[in-house]
């Protein structure tokens, strides 16, 4: 029988034998699954054997080459695997920046030694990775980063501060951009470096947001000695690596923001349902016509956006070139989420003002935190202003 069916059959066999039934329909935790690492957090005791068995068969990184711990699967086979997981309502055995960010980067830019050292440990979930790009003085202007990397024999000595390093407090290694040549023009003096966070001189400080606790940390480097062997690609060529990685991120944005019709409608009814709860009017309509119209407008915007994501997918399937969709999606989805979360708080009225404690129920408190957190959506990952600049320049061709 054709190889794909054969693969599917074998996979089902293996899943039946190895996937713990206890994990079926396991509610995905706030952290979004199992991130592995030296200090792993298991949402469920059976996640550990699930990770180990999946890793042993190369199913934590299905499409990576076998020699690095991957499954060596064809895209079609990998798709079958993820479909099977969905069908069986099984959680991914492993997630994290190792698999999604530094792994693909190593496969493209890493040396053979670097691949052999890091990829298998990523696949086995032994090492948790975080990203060290932004700095206090380099927000939208990433290339202006200042973290010093001074050469000392076979080592770089790193001194500086990275901010917005998500989950740095739970990570084992960090991939960071450092300034290795202060004299070169800014994009050309940057090196992409892998740093073991257990090294002396690394300190991590979690960041409180206006919405409360967050995964973000500030990570400081005080004369941290890092082997030159940990440089990815070439010294002072880090910007090339970073750009590729950013591009890779952007390509995921459509998937991130794409919302299924069903979910779309469900969402719609969330808004209207919420309004009925707080603004019950007579004859089924809402007592506040102004809010009623804002709700309809918000539903319009969400539906129009999800249709646009679908259109860009359909166009891609039809082999058409994508435009600067990623910037459009980023700016629209984030601004929409700001409007949406703000609208939900306005619907709740005074009940939407709670921070914690008595007089507010859990949902009310959560909605308010979500609204506050969403204010950051149009700042993180490229501000709305930067996205509009990109559209104006690269899509509309307006002059500098």
């Amino acid at each position: 029988m054709p190889s794909l069916e054969k693969f599917h059959a074998e996979l089902n066999e293996w899943l039946a034998a190895n996937a713990p039934k206890t994990l079926a329909g396991l509610p995905v935790s706030e952290t979004g699954g199992n991130w592995g690492g030296r200090r792993p957090v298991w949402d469920h005791p059976d996640m550990k054997p699930w990770l180990e068995r999946a890793a042993a068969r190369g199913l934590t990184a299905p499409t990576w080459p076998r020699e690095y711990g991957g499954g060596g699967l064809e895209p079609a086979e990998a798709k079958v695997f993820s479909q099977e997981l969905a069908r069986r309502r099984l959680p991914l055995p492993l997630t994290g920046f190792g698999l999604t960010m530094i792994g693909p980067t190593l496969l493209r830019f890493g040396s053979e030694e670097q691949k052999r050292e890091h990829l298998p440990r990523i696949c086995r979930g032994e090492i948790r990775w975080c990203q060290g790009y932004s700095e206090p003085d380099s927000g939208s202007d990433l290339a202006s980063l200042k973290t010093r990397a001074e050469r000392d024999g076979d080592f770089f000595v790193i001194t500086g501060t990275k901010v917005w390093t998500s989950y740095a407090d739970q990570s084992d290694w960090i991939f960071a951009l450092v300034r290795s040549d202060p004299k070169a023009k800014k994009q050309e003096g940057i090196t992409f470096l892998l740093i073991d966070m257990a090294s002396p001189g690394v300190s991590v400080h979690p960041i409180q947001l206006i919405s409360g606790a967050s995964p973000f940390c500030e990570t400081r480097f005080d004369n941290v000695r890092v082997p030159v062997a940990n440089v990815i690609h070439q010294i002072n060529a880090g910007w090339t690596v970073a750009k590729a990685l950013l591009g890779h991120e952007r390509s995921m944005i459509a998937d991130l923001f794409g919302v299924s019709e069903r979910k779309q409608n469900a969402r719609g009814s969330v808004l209207a349902g919420l309004a009925r709860e707080y603004l019950a009017g007579d004859a089924g309509t809402l007592s506040d016509p102004a809010l009623r119209e804002q709700i309809a407008q918000c539903e319009f915007d969400e539906r129009a956006f999800s249709l646009t994501v679908q259109r860009s997918r359909d166009a891609a399937k039809a082999g058409q070139q994508p435009g600067a969709e990623s910037s459009l999606f980023k700016v629209y989805a984030t601004e929409l989420n700001k409007r949406r979360t703000e609208l939900m708080v306005k619907i709740a009225g005074p009940a939407g003002l709670g921070w914690e404690g008595p007089g507010f129920d859990e949902e009310e408190l959560a909605r308010t935190r979500h609204w506050l957190r969403a204010r950051g959506n149009s700042i993180e990952g490229g501000t709305s202003e930067v996205q509009l600049n990109i559209i104006a320049k690269h899509v509309l061709g307006l002059p500098d």
Binding site: G268, S269, A272, A275, R276, G284, T285, L286, R292, E293, I295, A296, Q297, E299, F300, D301, R303, A304, F305, L307, T308, Q310, R311, D314, A315, K317, A318, Q320, L328, V331, Y332, E385, L388, N389, I391, A392, K393, V395, L396, G397, L398, P399, D400
Partner: protein
């Protein structure tokens, strides 16, 4: 549904674009306005469009049509909208034509549809009244029983291409109060019928529109389109189809207005630099681009939903029309503002888009009307 053009649709778009570039620049519409053409469009070009199969696009082959859907017609109307071509697709091919196709008797269809599809005769639908605003069920025109038939009395305003039509389908009350859903009947009246007064109206977009006064116009049982008293549903259906056609036209118009503005932003120099280099204008232009992109998705979805007979087609029509109205008005305003003084002159074409945006917004319901309709259809 697939939100991407099929190869056939791409081809149709190409044909339409070439035709428009060659035969229908904005200057043509300006000439029609300047010489105060009574039709407000070119009958010659209309026949050519019919020969190209565009008029018959949403009709079955039996009457000479192409048996295609709104998705295809939308491609043509978008191209025509780019240069504000005023030919009577909405009134003839969509409003009246679809009413006959869906509700007409065999006799009516065989009498009217072949010449309509061939571009030789025109029909329109007269449904709007002084007090009806955007509610097609608000009908004061009355049809009183008279033997086997009725006598119609009342007034219809801004009847699209009413002055040019060989036949008019008129909504009138055979029963019920002014805003009841039940009791509305559609009648097909030939032009020049006894008691029919038809005056050309001048609107800001200078397209064909007329003020229709009926004074005891006699009609027979055979002139009823659809079922007596059941006209409201048929009206709603054909107006939704016409709305999608209008949306496609608006999409083409706003896209062209935006492109002209982009060109101007790149050419116009002030303070020694092109004004398109000013970030405030850049961001506003980017916002307009985003609005057009989202609007395009909603128009494609609405057309395909109607073609597929989807349950939520009506909601998608409201989504598309609300977005088209807001986006076209926004872009019309920004286009004139960014053109500066020259944009305020009648000599420059950009003002035509601003004017058409306002008329299109207020045809078949503005954005607020469709937000309310969406909310009602969503049960809140």
């Amino acid at each position: 549904m697939q939100l991407v053009l099929t190869e056939d649709q791409e081809l149709l778009a190409k044909t339409a674009a070439d035709f428009v570039a060659e035969r229908s620049p904005v200057a043509r519409m300006r000439q029609l306005r300047d010489k105060q053409d009574p039709d407000g469009f070119s009958r010659e070009l209309w026949r050519e469009m019919a020969e190209l199969g565009w008029v018959g696009n949403p009709f079955p082959e039996a009457v000479g049509g192409a048996g295609m859907g709104l998705a295809e017609l939308a491609v043509v109307l978008e191209a025509l909208g780019r240069t504000l071509a005023p030919e009577p697709f909405l009134s003839c091919a969509l409003l009246a034509g679809q009413a006959l196709l869906l509700g007409g008797s065999e006799a009516q269809k065989s009498r009217w549809l072949p010449p309509l599809v061939a571009g030789e005769q025109l029909l329109t639908l007269a449904f709007q009244e002084r007090r009806s605003r955007y509610d097609v069920r608000n009908v004061a025109t009355r049809a009183e029983r008279a033997g086997e038939g009725w006598r119609l009395s009342g007034e219809k305003i801004q009847v699209l291409d009413g002055i040019s039509a060989d036949g008019l389908i008129v909504s009138a009350r055979t029963a019920g109060e002014q805003t009841d859903a039940a009791g509305i009947t559609l009648f097909l009246i030939p032009r020049g019928a006894q008691g029919l007064a038809n005056v050309r109206q001048q609107r800001i977009d200078s397209r064909g529109a007329s003020l229709l006064t009926l004074t005891g116009v006699a009609v027979g049982a055979g002139d009823v389109v659809g079922t007596p008293g059941g006209g409201a549903e048929l009206l709603a259906t054909v107006v939704d189809r016409a709305t999608v056609g209008l949306c496609a036209e608006m999409l083409g118009s706003m896209t062209a207005a935006f492109e002209r503005t982009l060109t101007y932003l790149k050419q116009r120099v002030q303070f020694g630099v092109p004004i398109g280099s000013f970030q405030a204008l850049k961001h506003r232009a980017a916002q307009c681009f985003i609005e057009i992109e989202l609007t395009r998705s909603t128009v494609m979805a609405a057309a395909r939903a109607i073609d597929a007979g989807d349950a939520d087609a009506a909601k998608l029509v409201s989504l598309a029309k609300a977005r088209c109205s807001d986006a076209f008005v926004l872009i019309g305003n920004e286009a004139v503002q960014m053109h500066g003084g020259i944009g305020m002159t009648d000599e420059h074409d950009i003002g035509f888009y601003l004017k058409r945006a306002r008329v299109a917004e207020m045809t078949f319901g503005d954005a607020a009307f469709h937000r309310d309709r969406w909310a009602r259809l969503s049960g809140y």
